[in-house]
């Protein structure tokens, strides 16, 4: 699997906070994505009802996942394709390698797939003398820079155009070094020309899937660039790399979820290309792949289905939770240290890699609840992050100081009368400490917080005292 640095989240985050270029780039997320989603949702009166329906579809699928997967497979086979069930990343990689070697493939084009990142497919193919080429513009850029994606749908969002130009100059060394690459259109034109020749030369095309349709045995991809279509139409073999939970019963169900997908992701009414692919090319077709393979990856999801994190399997990877997360806005995607970032990353990563590796991620939340409020599939992300925190505590993974503080707090919280009097004294002391300005410049045990800003001093009475007075009125 892709190498993880999630255990080092604190250092990752610190570095990200000090990276001015990254901080500028993250400004785009805060503004553009949030405004566009809000406008798209406001424009469709049925949006909330569609969210409820989309959620119900996925719940129904998860309740009957075995049946729908078996049905999907039988339809794929009936259409002349093959399904390869893979328990883990290694099995999926070996399956793909076997298919590539069956046609002696040298060059493989790739549509954007998070599963491909999850199983770290590119470095594996390279190690086996096969050249993988990412064709989504953002993925192509980060492949040249040997980086993981920093966002679910905008993988290169952490970069500015000067960094892209630098990567292109290094990679396209056959082109005139004096060419002008200062503006985005020149960069796009160069990538388009370069990738066009790769599309035409590729032996195998690998895409992901936004949906697998049990009714028809089809896979569906959603893109804006059309790269996924060229990836799957031109080579001899089309491989679809998808995880179990992508299956939906029918085309009607796909339609319902499509209505919330693009709106939640980019604020578009509909992405430019939604492509439904079924089996290999038909006998008299003039183009299309001769073979159609679906590599169906479990990688822990069948077990996750039986855990308290089951609802996270409803996720459709739109990125709305990242776009609305104050933590993501502050540190970006790479700080999360693996493939999935933001609130969904904080829930999925410990599920897939273990809480020992990724236990910090669910702690990186203010529990503001914006992620859940915009999630088209209504995944209770804050609740799940809380579950991880509970597990971290009960498995003695949190640091001793934090555990001691929590235990101390629990001691008082279980004794309400004592709690009231101690917090009352504490609030008065802090008020005195704040002086006339009402601000605390330093606090014992909270130096990490007050090193960067002042703590506003309490007014002298606790919330419970104010509440009691309110009751008497």
């Amino acid at each position: 699997m892709q190498h993880a640095t999630s255990h080092d989240f604190k250092n990752n985050a610190q570095r990200a906070l000090g990276d001015q270029q990254l901080q500028r780039a993250l400004g785009h997320v805060k503004k553009n994505f949030v405004e566009r989603r809000a406008a798209a949702a406001a424009r469709l009166p049925e949006f909330e009802a569609l969210r409820d329906h989309a959620r119900a579809i996925k719940d129904h699928v998860l309740d009957n996942l075995d049946v729908y997967l078996e049905r999907f497979e039988s339809k794929v086979v009936a259409n002349g394709g093959q399904v390869h069930w893979c328990e883990d990343a290694e099995a999926a990689r070996q399956t793909i390698l076997r298919i590539c070697r069956s046609v002696n493939a040298k060059l493989v084009t790739r549509g954007k797939t998070m599963i491909g990142e999850e199983i770290d497919l590119n470095s594996f193919l390279e190690a086996n003398a096969i050249t993988p080429v990412e064709t989504d513009l953002g993925e192509y850029i980060i492949q040249l820079r040997h980086e993981p994606p920093s966002h679910l749908i905008a993988p290169a969002i952490h970069l500015n155009k000067e960094q892209v130009a630098e990567a292109f100059r290094a990679a396209h060394s056959d082109l005139d070094p004096k060419r002008v690459l200062t503006e985005a259109p020149a960069l796009l034109a160069e990538a388009r020309a370069r990738l066009r020749s790769r599309f035409l030369a590729a032996d195998v095309g690998i895409t992901g899937a936004n949906f697998l349709v049990a009714e028809t045995g089809s896979s569906i991809i959603v893109t804006n660039e059309g790269n996924g279509d060229l990836t799957q139409t031109l080579p001899k073999i089309h491989i679809v790399l998808a995880s179990l939970e992508k299956v939906v019963p029918t085309l009607e169900d796909a339609a319902a979820i499509l209505r919330v997908l693009a709106r939640s992701a980019t604020g578009q009414e509909m992405s430019v290309y939604t492509t439904i692919s079924t089996g290999p090319r038909r006998p008299d077709d003039l183009d299309g792949p001769e073979q159609y393979h679906v590599v169906l990856l479990d990688n822990g999801r069948s077990r996750m289905l039986g855990s308290e994190f089951r609802e996270a399997l409803r996720c459709i990877r739109c990125g709305a939770c990242l776009n609305h997360c104050p933590i993501y806005h502050a540190v970006g995607g790479h700080a999360y240290g693996w493939v999935y970032s933001g609130p969904i990353g904080a829930v999925l990563t410990p599920s897939l890699l273990g809480v020992e590796e990724a236990g910090h991620l669910p702690n990186a939340s203010t529990f503001c609840g914006r992620c859940e409020s915009v999630c088209p599939m209504r995944i209770p992300l804050p609740k799940m992050m809380r579950h991880w925190r509970e597990q971290e505590f009960s498995r003695h993974l949190s640091p001793p100081a934090a555990r001691a503080a929590l235990r101390l707090w629990a001691f008082f919280a279980k004794r309400p009368a004592l709690y009231r009097s101690v917090t009352g004294v504490g609030a008065r002391l802090l008020k005195m400490g704040g002086g006339r300005a009402g601000r605390l410049h330093s606090l014992p045990l909270a130096g990490g917080w007050t090193a960067h800003r002042d703590m506003p001093a309490p007014e002298g009475r606790t919330f419970q005292q104010l509440w009691a007075e309110r009751g008497r009125r």
Binding site: N64, L137, L188, E225, L230, L244, S271, G288, G306
Partner: protein, 231 residues
């Protein structure tokens, strides 16, 4: 391979705390697959024909398509020639070998160079027929087949699509109905393309740019009347 399948299915069932689903559950699934229930369809996807057509045109334009609305099929060659001249494009067209577009009266425009077949990447402009237009989002539905190679939809820089007014439906579900009428229930062509505007990318600094890998321009020729050629 089948061992892995059994293992994964087994873990799924263990997670769901049951063995095979009950026969009533199975029956529910079968009926859902045989007669797919529709979810909430936006009101704007359920308009009367005239308003539906207007919405299709408005939404397609919003998605950066251009549209020529013409009265009859015989005028398609003229509309194509006019568009190519206006956009300063070569008078050379790769046409899908589908009767709906290949058998148009091209001889009325002798200066247009017409060839049919798939694209190898050297064609600048293509013309293909649609199976449906979806008013809800201004989306075109194109299907592959021996007469409609998919490469024509993606390789040329300019893609022209012919659509007739009676092909314009309200929501996506009606487009599925057209698909099933044409191919049969549960039967699909290799590729169904739902296309909403020309190719684009915002991957560099979130700046929207047209023509990422697919066509830079998507032009729709909307013809009043019926899809099938008159005898």
């Amino acid at each position: 391979m089948s061992d892995t399948r059994a293992q994964i299915i087994g873990t799924i069932r263990k997670s769901l705390r049951r063995d095979r689903p009950s026969s009533s559950q199975q029956a529910e699934i079968e009926s859902r697959l045989a007669d797919p229930p529709r979810g909430p369809i936006p009101a704007r996807g359920q308009l009367e024909p005239q308003a539906r057509l207007q919405l299709f045109v408005a939404m397609a334009k919003e998605a950066a398509c251009t549209i020529a609305h013409i009265a009859d099929r015989a005028a398609v060659p003229a509309a194509v020639a006019e568009y190519l001249a206006r956009e300063n494009l070569p008078a050379k067209l790769r046409v899908a070998p589908d009767a709906a577009v290949a058998n148009l009266p091209w001889s009325t425009r002798p200066l247009l160079e017409i060839t049919t077949g798939r694209s190898d990447g050297s064609d600048e402009v293509s013309l293909t027929p649609a199976l449906a237009g979806i008013a809800e989002t201004g989306t075109l539905m194109l299907t592959s087949g021996p007469e409609r190679p998919t490469t024509l939809n993606f390789l040329p820089e300019t893609h022209i699509v012919m659509l007739t007014a009676d092909q314009v439906v309200g929501g996506m579900e009606e487009a599925w109905t057209r698909l099933r009428e044409r191919y049969g229930r549960g039967v699909m062509p290799r590729t169904v393309n739902l296309i909403t505007g020309p190719s684009r990318s915002a991957d560099i600094e979130q700046t929207l740019q047209m023509g990422a890998h697919g066509p830079r321009r998507l032009h729709i020729i909307l013809v009043d009347g019926q899809a099938t050629a008159e005898p």
